[in-house]
Subunit: 459 residues, 2 copies
């Protein structure tokens, strides 16, 4: 980056934004790191945008001065997506927090990119509608679209890819593009919406998101079941899905994670592979689903079924699941977490997890496993001392072997965390020649490589 | 196209394919037309491919001689997708009819592009699995992916966009690319799969398709209900979806279409707006869905509910729906059909249909309406004499106004038929500046514009 151009660009941005252009160290620091183990990389300045038009002007100034642009929502990504690897301008979209419209009859809404999922669901509360995608963090919906987020509900409601109907995007040359629309389906031209979903800011800045919504289910029930083997738990999931039971959530926690959850939340679940379920539907439908699933579980070595239908009990149960990450960290005071995820065809899930657990054991690491098991997606958290180079190297080996194994089993190097700059080599290993096509698209839409450079692809 | 290059290209293809390269008039004629009203446009030759490797060699020969390439499945598209507008080589993929693998536990399969949906479902019969997407015609799965097909089941099971997990594609420069994979979800890089789904052969030739499958439901029930108004029928659909009833099909036929169906199939349904339903699930679940829906219908002026749970009765009922097109044509012996479709937010559906019906009346046309109404998608069939220039002009006016209206109401110029060359101007009206982005992608992946030229975009 040219120092003179940088200075000129920042001056132009300051005259556009005034106080909303910050070069202060603490603001830059905050925008140069996510919640992962990746080292921070600070932008040269942070631009706080309030409208699509303002983002367009910011992008035009950056393009004119060839300055890198890094879109920033809540900074809760996990593979270094927001790190300013080559400096440049972080565009903070959190001030774009307007819910533009909610269409009850059509069950859709349009929001600015900075609206978070919890903000949206709070707003929707009285409409009887909700937005189901729940990646854990209270991420911005623009960021969730950009990273193709999903989470515990995806087995029933799909991922952001399935639930983003359209986008407003500012392209690298400062055009404002509207993709998709409000129709439930369309065969009209190339699917630009899904090209931008998961593009991690490398093709444009998402400023508005049109989303599908769902009716809040009449009845919700949850359950927890312990299994005497991981295979039994996974086989239960396979049979449940084969029978077409529309489970809303079906989460696996291994015995290491269950031990952590018990300690952290003062619970007394058996320390063995465990499934957490949630059922949505009519009261009769939920009762029927629950019964079917408990029978399947019993056939596969499941025991200690615990039901929860009251909101309070359900919340208690799921709080334990949602606290899994902090519970894992609490196993080793002072340690940091390195979360990583892969996704395999569900028939290979038990095999992939068991081989990975054997690797963790052999390398002497602490790494609880949780999984969105209905999708074949599971997460490791290496609970470690990042200053310990040897421990880091061992974790890297386990991660690398897990991804190799996943690809060999027909899976993908990340089910929901994305590539960022942490998994570029893994993406290349997985996709082979298709990387060339991604690179062609990137080069045609961002020839100067100013959009979040150093992420997804090596240019 | 250069005549010398064409001759050289055909010679090279003949030496590759022998008898499987045809320049005969009748074969060219057959490959230069679809089932729409669009005028045929013949390719210079038809290449019958048997493998991805063979397609790659054909594409390389065409690329070397700058010959247009038109992928051909079953020729059942509706907007001129297969017409060889600039001549060139039609690649017939119907010989690529191998079902490569079916994975029961994972509910997915991989097929060559020429496998048709009926062939796949026949093959799956004993596995308890099925592939739900049903556009009416027994189309090839490669063609269905290329055109982003959907149909009556989309309200529950989604479209091809939701059910294609991955593709093998031969690009314009003759590379073989594998997109997607067998994992149920992935955040790994740009979503090339969904870029190719719906690209209508303009970015590459699809040679293999990985598909999601579903368990055959334990119970299936169907029903027909007549309404005293179109608004009542549409409001029933809106309320059914708002309540989260997972209907598998919910189809609207207007009174003109019902009259046609009665005459064609010797039935005696009331000649009024009518909904055809199908419910999938457990026996108790189906019973509950049916009950809820019949109450909603009754609240909205629905009457004459007829149930069908026996396979034979259901087939009879749906046969009437599937024969709608032929029933429409039979209203006017000797006439041809011009089918067109649009898709609007469901809250605007009654308004859009009623205004369109008024237009049809004012222009003195015969055009029954059917709709995949759960998605807000409806179809007109202009039943007309295509030799009558005045009648054609009147139909064009109605179609044009319907699409204008649809776009104004937040909808899309085609829900499932695609753009082909029939709706290029409509796509431009709908997408605005996003067309520029589509063009950039097309130019970067197919700089010589040899892949199905003249479709989707004006280059």
């Amino acid at each position: 980056m040219d120092a003179v151009k940088l200075e000129q660009g920042i001056a132009a941005l300051r005259s556009l934004l005034g106080d909303r252009l910050s070069t202060g160290q603490s603001v830059r620091q905050q925008h140069g790191e996510d919640v992962s183990y990746h080292a921070p990389a600070l932008p040269d300045a942070v631009a706080f945008a309030r409208s699509t038009e303002e983002v367009r002007q910011i992008v035009r100034i950056c393009a004119a001065h060839t300055l890198p642009i890094i879109p920033y929502g809540t900074g809760t990504s996990l593979e270094g997506h927001v790190m300013a690897l080559e400096g440049g301008i972080s565009i903070d979209l959190s001030g774009m927090d307007q819910i533009i419209e909610v269409n009850d009859a059509d069950q859709d809404c349009r929001v600015q990119a900075g609206v978070t999922r919890k903000q949206l669901n709070q707003y929707l509360h009285d409409t009887g509608l909700f937005f189901p995608i729940d990646p854990g963090a209270d991420a911005s919906l623009g960021g969730m679209a950009a990273t193709s987020a999903s989470g515990t509900n995806a087995v029933r409601y799909g991922t952001m890819r399935d639930n983003v109907m359209g986008l407003t995007v500012v392209t690298a040359d400062g055009r404002v593009i509207h993709t998709g629309g409000r129709a439930r389906k369309s065969s009209a031209g190339y699917d630009l919406t899904r090209l931008f979903v998961g593009s991690e800011g490398t093709l444009g800045v998402i400023t508005e998101v049109q989303l599908r919504l769902y009716g809040i289910p009449e009845a919700i029930a949850s359950a927890v079941c312990s299994f005497d083997s991981l295979e039994g738990a996974v086989d239960s999931v396979i049979q449940t899905i084969q029978l077409g039971v529309p489970v809303a959530r079906i989460e696996l926690l291994d015995e290491v994670q269950m031990d952590a959850v018990n300690r952290y939340s003062s619970l007394d679940y058996p320390v063995s592979p465990t499934l957490f379920y949630e059922f949505h539907g009519s009261p009769a439908g939920v009762a029927e689903q629950s019964e079917t699933v408990s029978e399947i579980a019993a056939d596969n070595g499941g025991a200690n079924f615990r039901w929860a239908t009251k909101t309070e009990d359900r919340n208690h149960l799921w709080q334990a699941r949602h606290d899994a990450y902090y519970a894992a960290l609490a196993l080793r005071p002072g340690a940091k977490g390195w979360p990583t995820d892969v996704c395999v065809p569900i028939s290979r899930l038990a095999e992939c997890i068991l081989a990975t657990k054997e690797d963790i054991r052999a390398e002497g690491l602490l790494a609880p496993i949780v999984g969105h098991v209905g999708d074949g997606n599971f997460h490791l958290v290496f609970v470690m001392d990042p200053a310990d180079k040897d421990e880091l190297a061992r974790a890297e080996r386990v991660n690398h072997r897990m991804i190799e194994r996943t690809i060999r089993l027909g899976g993908t190097c990340t089910g929901e965390h994305g590539i960022g700059y942490g998994k570029i080599a893994d993406l290349e290993a997985e996709k082979g020649d298709a990387i060339g096509l991604m690179r062609q698209i990137k080069q045609s839409l961002d020839p100067d490589n100013i959009m979040n450079p150093g992420k997804i692809l090596r240019i």
